[in-house]
């Protein structure tokens, strides 16, 4: 019974939101607000049950060895609340500083490896090897030159003139357009998939006219 009611409620909200396509309406406005309230409420509930309770409250309450040290992150975290009191709001910078400084320090060498070094390394591919199909060879040329040309296009410290910067940036924009075209094609696919998901819900779970 509760499942049926649930599916009906979900169906009403689904159709209510689609009615926005015709015209803005109260059901859409209600949905907009509910989604903010529920997702934040869910976030608080999950964070309390899965972070604060098992990792802070329970170890301290049980008097676990060294648990008192957890008071340090707890106090730091509580300083966030000072944000709502203008006279001491500057204290909220402390937990931010704690998370940000070390977080960036940890992240720096790893980001450099993941997003820069590995990517540069991967650009240095053998363009041709014995037995390589022709489409891969052409592809490798396009990929390597394309990366270089697109980098030139984004390099604004030099005017885009002359055989290197001028031609390079021109090739670069063509490659970028192909890339954007591919992204556009995939974006269409993604958006349609989301609609398919809702139609599967309406026709299947709700109306039971498809499997």
């Amino acid at each position: 019974m509760s499942e049926t009611i649930g599916i009906w409620v979900a169906a009403i909200f689904t159709i209510g939101i689609y009615s926005f396509l015709y015209k803005e309406n109260p059901l859409y406005r209600l949905s907009e607000h509910l989604v903010v309230g529920i997702s934040t409420g869910f976030g608080i509930a999950v964070t309390f049950t899965q972070v604060l309770k098992p990792k802070l409250i329970e170890p301290i309450a049980a008097g676990e060895h060294g648990a008192w040290l957890l008071l340090i992150p707890a106090i730091l975290g509580l300083l966030y609340i000072t944000r709502f009191f203008p006279s001491v709001a500057w204290l909220s910078r402390y937990p931010m500083a704690f998370l940000m400084g070390a977080g960036m320090g940890i992240g720096f060498p790893l980001s450099m490896k993941a997003s820069v070094l590995r990517q540069l390394e991967a650009s240095l591919v053998p363009i041709y090897e014995a037995g390589m199909p022709w489409d891969v060879v052409v592809g490798n040329v396009v990929m390597v030159l394309g990366t270089l040309a697109a980098l030139i296009y984004f390099f604004f410290s030099k005017p885009h003139k002359g055989p290197f910067f001028g031609t390079g940036s021109k090739i670069g924009i063509w490659v970028i357009m192909v890339g954007f075209g591919a992204t556009f094609g995939f974006t269409v696919m993604g958006r349609i998939s989301l609609l398919i998901g809702r139609i599967q819900f309406l026709l299947g779970d709700w109306l039971h006219i498809i499997k």
Binding site: S31, G37, T40, G41, I44, W90, Q119, T147, V178, F184
Partner: protein
């Protein structure tokens, strides 16, 4: 105290943990473990900021009877109601898992109901609205006005046909060419963009660590 100490914490923390990566010593690892254990606890409290701001905004709207103020209850009731239910019925946090995670149906009901039958359909449907808008945009905005725009459109059409089974029926080469575009020219373009973003992120990280970039301090308590 107001600015210098937080900036110093960021700098010391940043440099310390940057070096820590290169020192495989027990003490260095202990320091790292403490940080990764404490950070989620500190971070958990940041939610307070979101809750506080939402509460202030919507209670203010209700008080002033601002336009559409009635809807503010739709934010505030679940905002406090859901954590309340989670507190009195802790085993209801399985999300969608009903009996399988060991909770009983009644207590799981409230939490599941709000999530599965309100949150999920609303969010999923809102995102799916974009399908309609992209179709409308396809008709009204995507013009082959220049050679570059034509290349973009051509690549998009080939990739779109290459990704669906019917594309292969229309032309056997669609999936192959579509994948070729994705694997080579698209990759070249995205790598250049990725490298640009990567360098940007690294530069920003260094600027924050060394106190050049201070926007994160905000205006609190100036």
């Amino acid at each position: 105290m107001k600015r210098s100490v937080p900036l110093a914490i960021v700098m010391v923390g940043g440099i310390l943990f940057m070096i820590q990566y290169f020192i495989p010593h027990q003490h260095s690892q202990t320091l790292f473990d403490y940080y990764t254990e404490w950070a989620p606890i500190v971070g958990a409290f940041a939610l307070v900021l979101g809750v506080g701001s939402l509460t202030r905004l919507h209670s203010h709207k209700i008080k002033r009877k601002a336009k559409n103020w009635q809807y503010s209850y739709a934010v505030l009731i679940p905002l406090f109601g859901i954590p309340f239910f989670a507190l009195i019925m802790p085993q209801s946090l399985g999300g969608g898992m009903m009996e399988s995670m060991g909770g009983d149906r009644l207590t799981q009901g409230v939490f599941d109901f709000a999530y599965m039958n309100i949150q999920v359909p609303i969010q999923a449907t809102m995102f799916s609205l974009l399908a309609f808008y992209i179709a409308s945009a396809a008709f009204r905005a995507f013009r082959a006005k220049s050679a570059l725009a034509t290349v973009l459109l051509f690549a998009a059409i080939v990739v779109m046909l290459g990704q669906v089974p019917i594309g292969e029926l229309i032309g056997k080469w669609f999936p192959k060419v579509g994948l070729w575009i994705l694997r080579y020219p698209n990759l070249g373009a995205k790598r250049a963009i990725g490298l640009g973003v990567g360098f940007g992120v690294l530069a920003t990280q260094l600027k924050i660590i060394f106190g050049v970039e201070r926007n994160w301090l905000g205006g609190a308590g100036e």
